[in-house]
């Protein structure tokens, strides 16, 4: 590639890259062109798109059939319930007595409200549907972008598989983050694509970021992607022109920068205003999160760590042998989110889509000669038949989902079929039926606190829940010591005036043993999964 003093035109983006690659590809490549539908009307889809929709429907069905996770989903529903009851945003933590007075910047209030309204109106199956919709939409966006910039449906399928494999763990957990993931994928595919700036894009992005800041704190990841688009563009232009003046005068760079500014100010349209910015750092930098499994560094001991390592190795090999040029933006996003994931396993959520697009794109380019020999080609012409097929698949996926079954039969699925096996359904039912539980704070495993508080109509205040960044450090530390069955458990329970303890027999075996040995505590309830103990003489 020869150097030029002229700024790269807008056609030097990935579309141009794709065109160039397509020019090298033989007409028999296993690819289709994602050109706009023309002859068959705007509703006509290409066969490749239909294939990707089919793949996304599989993801949808898989996620919709998944059980509701027993952890922080219920905390979010509890906050959503509180929002519905009070009809006002929270200022300080409202549900945990030990977190009273602590400022709560409840960024995902809109997601919590939506989740609660969904649960109230159509039941738990509605939450499964919401989760599956978000997950499959994110997968489709990533797969479609990979297919589009590679001009290969196979690349889209590669991307879908990689994304799902790396991020399956996060996709299965229903939380506001899934809504954030959809917004993130929209931003990502724009940044990794042609970075067009039509009126639709300007308005759409500003509106989406305003919405995003009310759904989840991951809007910061979106801003990082936009910032990467600005930086990446600047570096790309400079590397081509070797001239700072040309770089600074680049029009797309200007537009990217303006879009970043507008989106960063759009997120201020939320009940907490400017506070959403420091809140992001407050959560990730909170000392309590260090003890949370998912916030710890990604390691090869974790299954998703091993998958991520394999994808990383594949990415390195693909980049080494790929004939396609590498854009600085994709490198920045891939490396930046990768470093974040190494720092904290939870950040894998943001690396997965970037890695999926990058690997799929370059893997397809590496395999192009072999694929050409297959002489298999999907019909390239858009057709309403593919649209019909796609809609049928979507309808079928919905029909076989738990909500679809509920609407067909009129009977909601049972809790045991909907909730994860770790959910303490029987224990919560027992506690709900008790009329004279001892007063005061209860010690409940943080993972179960949301569910048990939810099932007991918030009448059983828990020492903690999984919003650990809102819990005072001393309280969280003491909670962990009790959880581990520390020898000073008696003092710790006395310290907080705890009269009722719910035990996960698998996780708190030592604590249960110690409590059983104590004459001050008596068993109130026990099943295979859990035990409930109370003081013989409540404080």
């Amino acid at each position: 590639m020869s150097a030029t003093l002229a700024p790269p035109s807008s056609s030097t983006g990935p579309v141009a890259d794709a065109s160039a690659a397509a020019a090298h590809a033989s007409p028999t490549a296993a690819s289709d062109a994602s050109t706009p539908a023309t002859a068959s009307g705007p509703l006509a889809l290409q066969a490749g798109t239909a294939v990707l929709i089919a793949a996304s429907c599989l993801v949808f069905s898989s996620l919709a059939a998944g059980r509701l996770w027993h952890t922080d989903l219920w905390d979010h529903l509890n906050y959503g319930k509180h929002l519905l009851q009070t009809r006002s945003s929270v200022v300080t933590e409202p549900l945990l007595p030990l977190a009273a007075g602590i400022r709560m910047v409840n960024i995902p209030w809109l997601a919590q409200l939506s989740m609660k309204l969904t649960e109230t109106s159509v039941g738990l199956a509605g939450l499964q549907l919401l989760s599956a919709l978000c997950g499959s939409l994110a997968v489709f966006l990533v797969a479609h972008k990979a297919a589009r910039i590679s001009r290969s449906t196979l690349a889209g399928l590669f991307a879908a598989v990689i994304f799902f494999a790396v991020n399956r763990h996060e996709l299965q957990v229903i939380r506001p983050q899934l809504a954030g993931l959809v917004c993130y994928c929209i931003t990502l595919v724009w940044a990794l694509g042609s970075q067009t700036h039509s009126i639709r894009h300007w308005v759409g992005f500003v509106a989406m970021f305003a919405l995003w800041a009310n759904l989840h704190g991951s809007f910061a990841m979106g801003l990082i992607v936009l910032a990467a688009a600005v930086t990446g563009r600047a570096v790309d232009v400079f590397l081509r022109s070797r001239c700072i003046a040309v770089t600074l005068g680049d029009h797309r760079l200007h537009r990217n920068l303006l879009l970043l500014q507008l989106c960063s100010v759009a997120v201020l349209l939320n009940p907490n205003g400017l506070l959403v910015y420091p809140e992001i750092f407050a959560v990730s930098g909170n000392a309590n999160t260090a003890s949370m499994f998912e916030w710890q560094p990604l390691t090869l001991r974790l299954a998703h760590g091993q998958i991520a390592a394999a994808v990383l190795a594949a990415a390195v090999v693909c980049l080494r042998f790929s004939p396609r040029p590498v854009r600085c933006t994709e490198v920045l996003i891939f490396a930046g989110t990768g470093l974040l994931a190494a720092w904290s396993a939870r950040m894998l959520n943001w690396w997965a889509p970037a890695a999926a697009v990058l690997v799929a794109r370059h893997l397809t380019a590496v395999l192009r000669p072999q694929l050409d020999r297959l002489r298999f080609r999907l019909p390239g012409r858009p057709s309403l038949a593919w649209t019909t097929l796609s809609l049928t698949l979507i309808a079928l996926s919905f029909a076989v989902s738990p909500l679809g079954a509920q609407l067909r039969t009129g009977t909601p699925p049972s809790a045991s079929a909907t909730l994860s096996r770790e959910t303490p359904i029987a224990t919560a039912r027992f506690l709900r039926e008790q009329k004279n539980l001892p007063a005061g704070i209860a010690w409940i495993p943080a993972e179960w606190a949301g569910f048990i508080m939810n099932q007991t109509q918030l009448s059983l205040p828990s020492m903690v829940n999984l919003h650990v960044h809102l819990i005072p450090e001393e309280v969280w530390s003491d909670y962990l010591r009790i959880n581990a069955g520390s020898a000073d458990w008696v003092n710790l329970l006395d310290e907080y005036g705890i009269n009722l303890v719910v035990i996960d027999k698998r996780a708190q075996a030592l604590l249960l043993k110690r409590m059983r040995d104590s004459s001050d505590w008596q068993s109130l309830y026990e099943d295979r999964q859990a035990a409930v103990l109370t003081r013989r003489k409540p404080l």
Partner: protein
Amino acid sequence: MTSSRHTRQRQIVSARTMLIVQAIFLGGLLIAWLTTTSSDRRILAAAALSRPYPLDAFPRTDTAAVVTPLYDQPDLVTDQQLAAVLKKLIPRFSRSHLRPNLIEHALRTWGGQVTFLNPDAISGPKMVEFLTDSARHLESWDGKAKPLLEDTPEGIHVRFGEDSASSVHHDHALAALTEAAIPLSSNVFTARRALQLKHVLAEALRDFRLDEGETEWSSLSFALWLSPDGIPQWHNGAGRNITFDMLVERLVRNHKRMGVCQGTHRIYTLMALLRMNEQHQGSLLSPESVAIAEKWLLDVRDLVAASQFPDGSWNPGWCYGAEYQLHIDPTEKISKRVIATGHHLEWMSIAPKKFHIPADQIQKAAQWLLTNVQNTPPSEIDQNYTFYSHVAKALAMWRKTSPAEFWTTYRQNHPAAETFDTPASTPTPAATAH
């Protein structure tokens, strides 16, 4: 060609567009700032500067409120008996390696104004000086200890719980200075700066954490300083909104055996909170918190009434009520009973009658204390000065006076009152740290 130029022109960001976006960006930030509450602005500023949340409540008055005793009962303790007790509690400590904990107890008992005629005794102003001037503290420790007063960017932190040269409890020094009626404008000297007591209070309000081990002294100090101005809440350095209602919840939540001095300071502080709230027209506590505190104190009253030993004393098992006998330790030192009995009489001296145990039980407790003090050699009292200081204060308060006020009057008619047969002894750290 024309189309290409047209496309290129569309791609150019005009200066006007650039300015409009900058206006939207800056205007958005400005509007967001203007619509942010003052409390949230402080959070933002603190986060931006990596500093603690700035203090948003502080007393306007220079002197703290006083929890006055309610009863004058000469039948409980006569002038002669009180004088005999007070004489044994005159602070005659060695000036070398003087522990702040001793001075804090002596100051709390005698106040900052008292002047003793005996040169061995440490008068009030000297006690205040020791606690508020690092030079005096370091002088006593031959410059080999860490200063008691530590500079922080925003105020002064009183070192506690580290060694013999530090205070024992968080905010105990502040509480002692507060109860001794030292004004906020009093000078406080760290090793580097000359500040005032208000900087100690400000730091205490900032570094207070609701879930730290001991909140009794902090809560008492805050109530005495903030109640005169009717300030029911403030934000600590972490930005947490602390209310006196939360302090009540915190003080009543533990098992009653827990807390400083066998849990008895929690009772004193709660009673002081109720008194301050009543004194300032309910500005400190909500009716719900008053009800919670009263219920808890009535419960304490019943436990105390049921757990008194036949001789009139209490042991650390008072919180088990009638089952106190199950918690008797045969090897227990008598000083443990002095702690429980002295402290119970102390909080009852500021409590309305409905929180009292029957009068004959109070009488028996006072008699036990008087007999104990009378029979205990001065050297042993000196060894357990911090425990006995509460006895002296409690008995004085049951005469509706203070040790300093009573002693000053008493001394006028008894010129030899401060003459001692034995020299002063130095208490050991183990016996005095409580």
